[in-house]
């Protein structure tokens, strides 16, 4: 039970018939075609697919960094317009500001909040503790390992108490041991905060380990090929037959057979 949980708003995300193209050499290049996806409050949904299938682009549309698309993206029934604090994002690179300490980086998410300072300080502290970085408040990003920096980035995205957390290959740049460890940490944070999560990854194993549902996309142009419910209880055993079966199903869909 955390202090953050009590406030965590519930979020339903509806992606309705979203298409997007870039213009390359004056010709439109479709990157997303007719994407439709509904995400329930508290759900953990992963998107997997080969590079170039537009999965990261889709996340950028949801977070509001790119408004140039067709179709609709609704959060709790309202069309999203630009970035907002009810949507947090963690990028593949941690993107912490190198000139700010861990706590100052995380406090950025509370900028302009009119709550009293001690409340804000406590929220920063709570989120540092949540990601297991207590004791590193005054450290600068270059003094952290890749895994620790990514934890700080997760704390920065959670400090705004987002209804939905978007993860863009958040563990993609980490070594396999750190990655396995942070997968468990992500699971713990998700269960503790009950935040809705959409994670883009190219690691099928990671997707099956964490998600309620796995969206399989195919490239050129990016389309949804299938949505695979995982349906296993946590904690999941990677060596189990059921785990292997779900993983096999996703891999089959990915290879397009």
């Amino acid at each position: 039970m955390s202090a953050v949980e009590a406030f965590a708003p519930r979020a339903t995300l509806n992606i309705r018939d979203v298409s997007k193209s870039y213009v390359v050499d004056e010709k439109p290049l479709p990157v997303l075609r007719n994407i439709a996806l509904d995400v329930q409050p508290g759900e953990f949904v992963s998107i997997v697919g080969a590079s170039g299938c537009g999965k990261s682009t889709l996340l950028r549309l949801v977070v509001g960094l790119d408004a140039d698309y067709e179709g609709e993206i609704l959060l709790n029934g309202r069309r999203i317009e630009g970035p907002g604090r009810e949507r947090g994002i963690v990028f593949q690179e941690h993107r912490l500001f190198p000139w700010l300490t861990v706590e100052d980086n995380i406090a950025l998410g509370l900028d302009g909040s009119d709550e009293p300072q001690h409340v804000l300080d406590k929220r920063v502290r709570d989120n540092i503790a949540l990601v297991g970085l207590a004791g590193f408040e005054k450290a600068y990003p270059h003094q952290l390992s890749g895994g620790m920096a990514q934890r700080a980035a997760i704390a920065r995205s959670l400090v705004t108490q987002p209804a939905i957390l978007l993860l863009d290959e958040p563990l993609g740049a980490l070594d396999s041991i750190t990655r396995a460890y942070l997968q468990k940490e992500l699971l713990r944070i998700w269960q503790q905060e009950r935040v809705t999560v959409i994670m883009v990854t190219h690691d099928v194993d990671e997707a099956v380990f964490l998600s309620d549902r796995v969206v399989v996309m195919e490239p050129r142009p990016g389309r949804i090929r299938s949505i695979v419910p995982v349906g296993l209880t946590h904690p999941r055993q990677r060596a189990s037959v059921e785990f292997a079966r779900v993983k096999g199903e996703i891999l089959r869909d990915l290879s397009g057979e």
Partner: protein, 250 residues
């Protein structure tokens, strides 16, 4: 120890060569006086207050010009860096004006202002403005897109975006521009004092040359070198202080 000694190797070698040249009479004393003579001239100039008086006047010109030039440069550079439209309007004209050497402005400014102090301030300010405005706008425009996006996603206020993102991210480039501005200021100062002044370190050097007293010219060069180096390392120290967050071992 070696770190302190290494920068001295070249000056000592030059000094030795200079001493040998003077002692062997390779160049006439009117062209290149011996180091000992220059040193005693320097001491005389310091003792009778000649240097102090001229340096005070020159430093005042440098500081006023630098203050005007860099603050206008920071302001204009920030506008050009932040606003694409401003850059479209004013970028090319500032670029064109900056191609004209500071020296090129001297004749017309003398016609307008006479031999007034204003001319010196304006020339030095112009010399400082150019590198500052270019470095500031470039420093801001080159802020990684990744950081800008973080600012957007976190919904940072304008003021926070300025103080926690734009300024720290652009600071290294801006400081490079300001240090270049300082060295430009010295160039402009000496040129303008040689052309259009009756006092100052630059004037002192012109005066020494017309008297064929090259020792005074070299003494002036030494003074400028020492003061310039001191001001630049002062700036470098301020910069280090503002960039304390950086890893120490690079």
């Amino acid at each position: 120890m070696t770190r302190l000694a290494v920068p001295l190797v070249l000056p000592v070698a030059v000094l030795l060569l200079w001493q040998i040249t003077a002692a062997r009479g390779w160049l006439s004393p009117q062209t290149l006086p011996a180091p000992a003579l220059v040193l005693s001239t320097l001491i005389d100039l310091i003792r009778d207050g000649e240097i102090a008086t001229n340096l005070q006047i020159s430093l005042r010109r440098i500081l006023v010009g630098l203050a005007i030039g860099t603050s206008l440069g920071l302001f204009a550079g920030a506008l050009l860096g932040v606003s694409r439209r401003m850059n479209d309007y004013f970028g090319p004209i500032i670029n064109a004006l900056s191609q004209i050497p500071s020296l090129g402005w001297v004749p017309i400014l003398i016609l307008i202002f006479g031999l007034d102090e204003t001319v010196k301030y304006l020339i030095i300010a112009k010399a400082c403005f150019v590198p500052t405005v270019l470095a500031t706008s470039q420093g801001i425009r080159n802020i990684p897109r990744a950081y800008i996006e973080v600012g957007q996603v976190l919904g940072l206020r304008r003021r926070t975006t300025l103080t926690k993102l734009i300024v720290p991210a652009a600071l290294p480039t801006i400081f490079g521009g300001i240090r270049l501005a300082l060295s430009n200021a010295w160039v402009a100062l000496i040129v303008v004092e040689m052309l259009a002044a009756t006092e100052g370190v630059g004037y002192m050097m012109v005066w020494g040359r017309t008297l064929f007293q090259v020792d005074i010219v070299i003494a002036g060069m030494i003074v400028i070198g020492v003061i310039g180096l001191a001001m630049d390392s002062g700036l470098a120290r301020v910069e280090r202080r503002m960039r304390r967050w950086e890893p120490k071992n690079v």
